[in-house]
């Protein structure tokens, strides 16, 4: 054993403790960095030589300490779990947003909702029944009919606007996914290079994993670890990112026409692979929520309100047809219904005298009877009438929104717990870092002291020997 070997041992310790301090410093610096995983210096006792050689037998202790690397403390199982939970969480939140907005369109319950306008409309017929010859009461009904028609059409238009906004949001999301996927691929390449040249890719990997989480939140992507620290990102079994190569997605409709008009043509919006136009399996993430809104929730809501508008037109026109107007002719339709995107609900009568208030046929001259108007007013309470249908519709909407609100709450809890466990595994604890810092500091001091001790020993040997008897 070399006499200078003690210096080597002290030096290895100085290096190792300094590296430890550096890593501790890095951890402290990144305590608030999103996606950062705490790092640890891997230390290993450098063993003595175990290979005996001629005339050279190792008799000393170990050879100090080796730094084996800097490890990222991260649980892969928890990470994949987080991807799944975040994907569900984002999808539910997006659906919740769509539901909440479509709910607000109806302004129920309240004095400005369609229910209030329907009630106002039906009540107006009572005034006609009281004064069948009074043109003011008749004009009032025409005005209320117009208001009702406008409200139905406006509600429908607002749902259409909501559809358009959601489609736009889906496009932005997909653009964002493409950019993120490309960045993941770049980072994969960098990580591969770093790993192969034996450099530490930890911080790149943190960045990449954060982006993978974003992909899960956007489109519900999943991750599979590959060679050399690289990960592949999958979307329903097809690779979105494989190694350093990323695919791109696009928003489209099956017949290839513009997405903007898809809802009016009953076409389902989908996300496709740009390379071959095959639909991508997107069921999670924000995009999943948006697709659900675009292809299911909003069209169904719109169909529901259309059905009620049509029912209003049908029952009112049927009652009109049973009566006679001020001129004694049979009542014509008050409302017109043309399935949107055409005109929707329209008022067909402009002359107030054309409202069929009389139930009696003209007898010698037109009747001033008001009983048909009276029956019209009674339709408000009809069990199969549009009012009842509208209330059921609003309740169904409310129940569905409430259900999704609950699901969001539950999922937020689950996601929060998974995140907490991940933080517990990968997060930086300042107290712990502080303790480590003190430990490394002490070890460093001790190693310096060792150096001094060996130094003094050697000095004694070099200067103190051979001077006996001088």
């Amino acid at each position: 054993v070399s006499d200078f070997f003690g210096l080597r041992v002290a030096l290895s310790s100085l290096y190792a403790q300094r590296r430890g301090l550096e890593v501790t410093g890095h951890n402290v610096a990144n305590v608030n960095t999103e996606g950062y995983s705490r790092q640890r210096v891997g230390l290993q006792a450098a063993g003595a030589s175990t290979v005996p050689a001629l005339h050279a037998r190792w008799e000393g202790a170990g050879a100090g300490v080796d730094v084996t690397g800097v490890d990222r403390l991260r649980d892969q199982f928890l990470e994949s779990r987080a991807l799944v939970e975040h994907s569900v969480d984002s999808r539910l939140r997006q659906s919740q947003q769509v539901m909440a907005r479509s709910e607000l369109v109806f302004a129920e319950p309240g004095p400005n909702g369609l229910q209030a306008e329907l009630a106002e409309f039906w009540a107006g017929w009572g005034d006609i029944a009281n004064q069948p010859t009074d043109l003011a009461a008749r004009s009032q009904i025409l005005e209320r009919s117009k208001t009702l028609a406008t409200s139905f059409n406006r509600t429908r238009d607002e749902l259409g606007t909501l559809w358009g906004a959601s489609a736009e949001q889906l496009k932005v999301t997909v653009d964002d996914v493409n950019a993120t996927a490309a960045r993941v691929a770049e980072l994969n390449a960098a990580i591969e290079r770093a790993t192969k040249s034996d450099l530490s890719p930890n911080d790149l990997a943190d960045q990449r994993d954060l982006l993978a989480l974003k992909l899960a939140q956007s489109v519900g992507a999943t991750v599979r670890p590959g060679e050399a620290g690289v990960v592949d990102v999958y979307l329903g079994g097809t690779a979105l990112v494989r190694g350093s190569r990323a695919e791109t997605l696009q928003v489209s409709v099956p017949d290839g026409t513009s997405v903007a008009n898809a809802d009016q043509k009953g076409q389902a919006v989908q996300i496709q692979w740009a390379k071959d136009g095959y639909p991508a399996m997107v069921s999670g993430g924000r995009a999943g929520g948006l697709l659900d809104g675009l292809n299911r929730v909003l069209p169904a809501t719109r169909a529901g309100i259309d059905q009620i508008a049509k029912s209003v037109a049908d029952v009112v026109n049927a009652q009109q047809a049973q009566g006679y107007d001020l001129g004694g002719t049979e009542g014509g339709p008050l409302f017109g219904w043309d399935t949107p995107p055409r005109t929707g609900l329209t008022v067909q009568i402009s002359d107030p005298a054309r409202i069929a208030a009389a139930a009696e046929p003209p007898n010698g001259g037109p009747s001033v009877d008001g009983r048909n108007a009276l029956r019209m007013g009674d339709l408000a309470a009809k069990p199969t009438g549009p009012d009842q249908a509208y209330r059921s519709f609003i309740v169904a909407l409310g129940v569905e929104t409430q259900a999704i609100n609950r699901q969001v709450d539950i999922q937020a809890n689950i996601t929060g717990q998974v995140d907490a466990v991940r933080d517990a595994e990968s997060g930086v604890n300042l107290d712990e870092e502080m303790a480590n810092m003190v430990a490394y500091q002490h070890a460093y001091s001790a190693a310096s002291r060792l150096l001094t001790a060996v130094d003094e020993m050697l000095e004694t040997l070099i200067r103190g020997t051979g001077v006996v008897g001088r």
Binding site: V31, A119, A129, D378, A424, D431
Partner: protein, 306 residues
Amino acid sequence: MSTAFRITNRSINRTVMDGLQTNLGRMQRLQEQLSSGRAVSRPSDSPVSTVSAMQYRSQLRQVEQHARNAQDGLSFLGMTDQTLTGMIGDAGRVRQLVLAGLNGTASGAEREALAAEVDSLRSGLLDAANSKYLDRPLFAGTANVPTAYDRVTGAFLGNAGDETDPGATGKVERSIAPGVSVRVNVTGPEVFGTNGEDLFSVLADVSAHLRAGDTAALGADLSKLDDRLLTIQNQLAKVGARYHQVETMRDRAENDKITLTHGLSEVEDIDLPKTIVDLQLQEVAYNAALSATARVIQPSLLDFLR
């Protein structure tokens, strides 16, 4: 959170932020309720309350309209009642004149005077029978005519109703409750007798027979007049009964208005004292969470190292 975990600054931070967010969310919800004054502002707040509120609102509007209809019906019936009561008085006076004419001692001049008074009473009764409610003849049924009786000939111009026939024309109805409509008019023929035998023909006959001094015919006229008077009194009784019915229904509708308004407010509006107390409790909880946060986040090993 389970204590089995390693606790890190980020997980403390997350827990604390989650807690504060939940607290803030509750406060926001209460503040929204307080500022809008409404407990249910969207269907998902409570689908059941939403449908109740919608039902209340719809019913309230119906009840308001029913009360209005009833009020209008009451005016119609009241006017009919007044007119008929006045007419009974006048017809009674005619009866006295007929009795005076029947007295054989009356001279020609006296009978002429009686006849003239009968004529004037007849003309007054005809005017009364042509009374209008809101420009609509009270006794003309559903016919679109300016007057119920021709002012010269006394012929009925309207259409007659028939109490026993539900499909008969000439009925004026008011809807006073869900599915309940009450007839508010009586037509001329129903109350004054059918054409040719009606009150006004009888009076014309009385006048003619007075002038002619035909006491035998006058005797017959007297019994006809009594018949007509009896019919008017019968119809008046019916009008009175309907008036009472409509009045009851109107009062009920007014009561329902109060009940429904109360119900709507119960469902839709906030309980103000309760919401304020809840908000204050929530503020206390929020402050507690904030001060706990300050205590949890502050100490670290850093405070105790040199």
